[in-house]
Every structure is written in C-alpha cells, then in structure tokens.
C-alpha cells in the first residue's frame, strides 16, 4: 500500500535556513545540509528546499546547498524558488535535486512546464501553487505571494496537470505561518479536480492538522516547516500519530 508522505520544508536564503511568518519576519534556523540530514535520518519521506527570496537575489548559493545535500541524503529532494527556465531546472537536477518545483514561471508561461516535463519527465516537475481565497474562489499568487495573478486556482491546477506536472504543491497564503491548519477546502477541491498527487502546505501548527490534510484535504503528502524546525514535534512523532489515526505511513 502506498504510504502518505511527510515532507519537512526548509526555506533557504543565502545558503541558510529561514522560515517566515506570512513570508516576512525571517528567523535563522540553521544549516540546510545538516538539517536535511537530520530529517532524512529521522524518517522524513522527502526533503523540500524552497529558496524563498531567490527571485530577487543571486541564486548560486542554492546550487551548492543542493549539491552538498544530495551527497548526504538518500531520500528524494525537491528544490524550488526562483526557478525560471528549463535551464534552471536542468542545473538543479544536475546538482542532485530529484524534483524541481516551479511557481511564478509556470503562471507566466505554462510552456516551461510543458517543455521541462517532456525533457526531464513529469516525475521531477512539481508545480507550486500559492493560493489565496477571494470570495468563494481562490486566486493564484506569484513572486513569493506578492502579486495576485487573478487566475482561478482550481482551473489553474487542472491546466498544470494537463501541461505535464507530476505533482502539485499547494500552499494556502491565508494559512501560511498562522499554525491554524491547512485550508482543507482548497486542498480537497484541487485534489478532487486533478488526478496527480497533491502536497498540502501552509498553516500546520499541530499533528492533527497533518491528519486533516490527508483525511479531509485528500493530500498524498503533507509539507510542514515550523513544527519540525523548532523542535515542537519530530518527524517520528508525527508518523506515530498519523499511524494511530489509521493513516498509512512509512515506519
């Protein structure tokens, strides 16, 4: 039986791990290579790096981080943030990333998703969707949550599946950093709309939120940052809890 995945996400800036509250107010939480290793040794099913301010800054530090991490971690590594082109994807994969997540560039030009999934295979193309509720729908935001594209998130999710995305990483902008739980309605609506796996993100504050993300949000995988970084829970504790709630996990 396929297991639900727990993915700790490390937000990286200039080669260091940070985690923002609603994408601002950054705190330093350590070295990404060491943290990734601790997580993979602790049972994390995958590791995710998001180079959060990469759109505006020199990105070379992330390549070095990926290269070092991939020599120490033997679970899948997803890298995103500031990925603009097929060439960027190629570089990250060559450094040892197993999957690359594309956000703003996919909104601006879906051809990046079409071309990269053809060239490298859908298995390594994750489309990251930052969505925010507006009335009774959700809109897709770009540039680390700064710009509203006005695009309907559900329709966009379907379009990305058709373009060749292998997975969707869906973040609720409303919930990110709040620790009040995933936007379950958003997750379940998108998951029901597409036939590719969904990774839920944004808003985890406790282990019940992970359970909700999988059971009600229909996510294949749950991504979390703060609850793991600051030692509130270990990945192992999270897995034990999920298992106690009848969710299949790798132990």
């Amino acid at each position: 039986m396929l297991k639900n995945r727990i993915i700790p996400c490390l937000d990286v800036k200039n080669g260091r791990v940070v985690k923002g509250i609603n994408f601002v107010d950054l705190k330093d939480a350590g070295d990404p290579v060491e943290q990734a290793k601790i997580y993979s040794d602790g049972g994390a099913d995958e590791i995710c790096f998001l180079d959060i301010t990469a759109s505006n800054e020199n990105r070379d530090t992330i390549y070095e981080v990926v290269e070092k991490t991939s020599k120490k971690c033997f679970v899948p590594l997803t890298v995103g943030g500031g990925v603009r082109s097929v060439d960027d994807i190629n570089k990250l994969l060559n450094c040892g990333a197993d999957k690359v997540s594309i956000n703003t560039a996919a909104v601006e030009n879906s051809k990046v998703v079409v071309d990269s999934s053809k060239k490298f295979g859908s298995q390594c193309i994750v489309v990251a969707i930052d969505a925010k509720k507006n009335g009774n729908k959700w809109e897709v935001f770009t540039h680390g949550g700064r710009n509203n594209s006005g695009i309907d998130a559900l329709e966009y999710a379907k379009k990305m599946e058709d373009s060749g995305a292998g997975e969707l990483l869906v973040t609720s902008m409303d919930r990110d950093g709040t620790q009040v739980g995933y936007d379950i309605e958003l997750m379940s609506k998108i998951s029901s709309k597409v036939n590719i796996p969904l990774i839920a993100s944004g808003g985890v504050g406790n282990l019940d939120h992970l359970v909700e993300g999988i059971k009600s949000g229909k996510a294949s995988a749950v991504l979390a940052a703060s609850i793991f970084h600051y030692g509130k829970y270990s990945v192992k504790e999270a897995k034990q809890y999920l298992e106690s709630k009848g969710i299949p996990v790798r132990t």
Binding site: L2, F74, V75, C95, S122, Q123, G166, S220
Partner: protein
C-alpha cells in the same frame, strides 16, 4: 572492480551516481560514461532511466554502438546489469508510452500504463510503497519482505515469463517492481532514493 553507470543523456542521474559512490566508498571504482569501450571492459553496468520509455530508448540508440555493446555485455558475456526505473522497463520487448516503441528485449514482455481504475488511483504512483518479495533475488540479500521503497512511475513492466519477477508492489493492482533473470537485475523503484534499505540493495549489487 569497476561499476559503470551508463550516462546516455536521458534524465537526471546525479542521485544514482551519489548513491553508488556513497556505497562503494573507495573500494570499488564507480565510472559514469557513455564511452562504449569502457562499457565493454567493465565488470558491472547500471542502466538508469528517467522520462518516457520512448525518450530513453531513443537516447540509447542515439549513441552509436551503445545498444550493441549492452547486448554483448548482457547476453553474451553474461555480466551483471542493474536497470533502474525506465532502465528496467527497457528490458521489455515493447513499450507503449508516447508511441509503440521497441525495447531491448532481454526479458520478454511489455510496458503499459498502470490502470488507475477511472481516476481512483492517482498517477504517477509517487511515494513509498512496500515490496512483496516473491523470490530470493541476490540483490535482496538481507532485505526484509515488505520493505519500503521509493517509487515514481506511471507505467509498469508486464513480463511474459513470470519466473523473472522477484518482487511486486500493490498500487491499483499487484504490479511488478523488481525482476531478476540470470545476470539481469531491475528495479522499478529507486534504490538510490530509498534511504538505507535502498543503499543496501545497491551494496548487494556491487558485491555480486
């Protein structure tokens, strides 16, 4: 001893290289090449594969003499080869991803899309799943039945000769996730991304 990872410019093989180097330490030489003369003289070959069946077969064929050298290595010299993911799928006679494409024909069978039961199962099959070991393969030495392995694929290998199947996994139906036929080994899952258990499989292959 030399273990050669075939670099035929199809997909990302960094993780395969990293994992083999990690396991080999400095005792075994890990070579990454598409140079036919090196492949001919090596002791073991690893055939990775990402992307579609067709794109992998096309990429193999675009390197002059590579397919012939691999055939010679596997069928005549009977030296060990490990295919990973599409690397395993290419053992088949034919694959149906993108369009009908002829495979290497080392293990008779076909590669078809996993039946997702009208959307009941999401594809690709991504994540950790347990393997059911159906025969004692040499690369499964000290690997427990029901071990977790990391999978990413939408197509499955359906071999004609069921005796070649060494492990299956359950997703939508029971499908083949590892094969062994004499000197030919293959895993649909990614040992290079399957944590310590996966590294053990790589170690078993290196130590054959």
């Amino acid at each position: 001893m030399n273990v050669t990872i075939v670099d035929y410019k199809s997909g990302n093989i960094s993780s395969v290289i990293n994992s083999f180097k990690e396991v080999a330490e400095n005792k075994v030489k890990i070579e990454v090449t598409s140079d036919i003369s090196k492949i001919k003289s090596t002791d073991k070959v690893v055939l990775p594969g990402q992307g579609s069946f067709k794109s992998c077969v096309d990429a193999l064929q675009s390197i002059k003499g590579l397919v012939d050298s691999l055939n010679e290595f596997v069928m005549n010299k009977k030296k060990p080869l490990l295919g990973i993911c599409v690397g395993l799928q290419m053992f088949a006679d034919v694959g149906y991803e993108e369009s009908e494409t002829k495979g290497l024909g080392w293990i008779s069978g076909k590669v078809t899309k996993i039946d997702n039961q009208n959307g009941k199962y999401k594809l690709p099959h991504i994540g950790w799943n347990q393997i059911n070991i159906v025969k004692g393969s040499k690369i499964f030495k000290d690997i427990k039945d029901k071990s977790h392995m990391y999978f990413v694929h939408s197509y499955e290998f359906v071999p004609t000769d069921k005796n070649s199947i060494s492990a299956t996994t359950d997703y939508s139906s029971k499908h083949v996730c590892a094969v062994e036929k004499e000197n030919i080994f293959g895993t649909q899952f990614h040992p290079e991304k399957s944590d310590k258990t996966g590294l053990k499989i790589i170690n078993n292959f290196i130590n054959l």
